[in-house]
């Protein structure tokens, strides 16, 4: 298992995490249905506006799924940032993970590693977290 993602998307997610700091940022990367290919990044609003929680607004969530269906896409990546802790799924991340087919990407911009950034990817299925390799393409 691994995630292949372009440098441009990694940079965009890191940039978004910095722009929305100290709140967590979130979003998705979509791809053609059944492809597993991360090809279209869509930043989402963190409706929780919180440094310790993120949630897509329920209205945005419905619009997102409608759009994905209409365009014959799938959600390949669900990402969010941690601003104070490492880029590892929290208990709530695991409890609410509802897309068994998605790569859950965590980015951490916590102070003690600055200016470095942690960028890691996981599968979260039935409460079980499995980290996977991230391969970044240019």
């Amino acid at each position: 298992m691994s995630l292949t993602i372009s440098r441009a998307f990694v940079d965009a997610i890191v940039e978004q995490s910095r722009a929305e700091y100290p709140d967590e940022c979130c979003g998705v990367i979509l791809g053609p249905a059944g492809s597993g290919v991360a090809s279209r990044l869509k930043a989402m609003v963190n409706a929780a506006h919180s440094p310790t929680f993120y949630e897509f607004d329920p209205k945005d969530l419905l619009a997102l799924y409608r759009e994905v269906d209409d365009k014959y896409e799938e959600i390949v990546v669900i990402y969010h940032s941690h601003t104070e802790t490492e880029a590892y799924p929290s208990r709530t991340d695991i409890a609410y993970a509802g897309e068994p087919g998605a790569h859950y990407v965590l980015v951490s911009s916590r102070e003690e590693i600055a200016p470095a950034i942690e960028f890691r990817s996981y599968r979260i299925i039935d409460g079980v977290v499995t980290e996977e390799e991230v391969s970044i393409t240019d």
Partner: protein, 90 residues
């Protein structure tokens, strides 16, 4: 009365992988009862102690049921219901 209900990936193990199912009910509560009769166990994934689970979103057409009276939300012929797990975490 038959209502089209869209089932998210995570609940499709209950519906034999069907993405869209038909159910009956004039209120959300009745609809969920019917879903649970057809697909035993699914009700428990939608409700907790008799209330809608916080991190499950249910929509009637385009509206979040939380703004339509929750479990008392009325459903009429031709409506469509969409269930989506929240995308959320800490």
């Amino acid at each position: 009365m038959s209502i089209e209900v869209r089932i998210p990936t995570i609940l499709r193990p209950f519906t034999k992988d069907q993405k869209v199912v038909a159910a009956n009910g004039a209120s959300l509560n009745a609809l969920i009862t019917d879903l649970d009769t057809q697909f035993p166990g699914i009700g428990d994934r939608l409700l907790e102690n008799g209330a809608l689970r916080r991190f499950i979103n249910i929509y009637i057409n385009d509206e979040d049921v939380r703004f339509l009276g929750g479990l008392d939300a009325q459903i009429k012929d031709g409506d469509s219901v969409t269930i989506l797990p929240a995308v959320a975490g800490g």
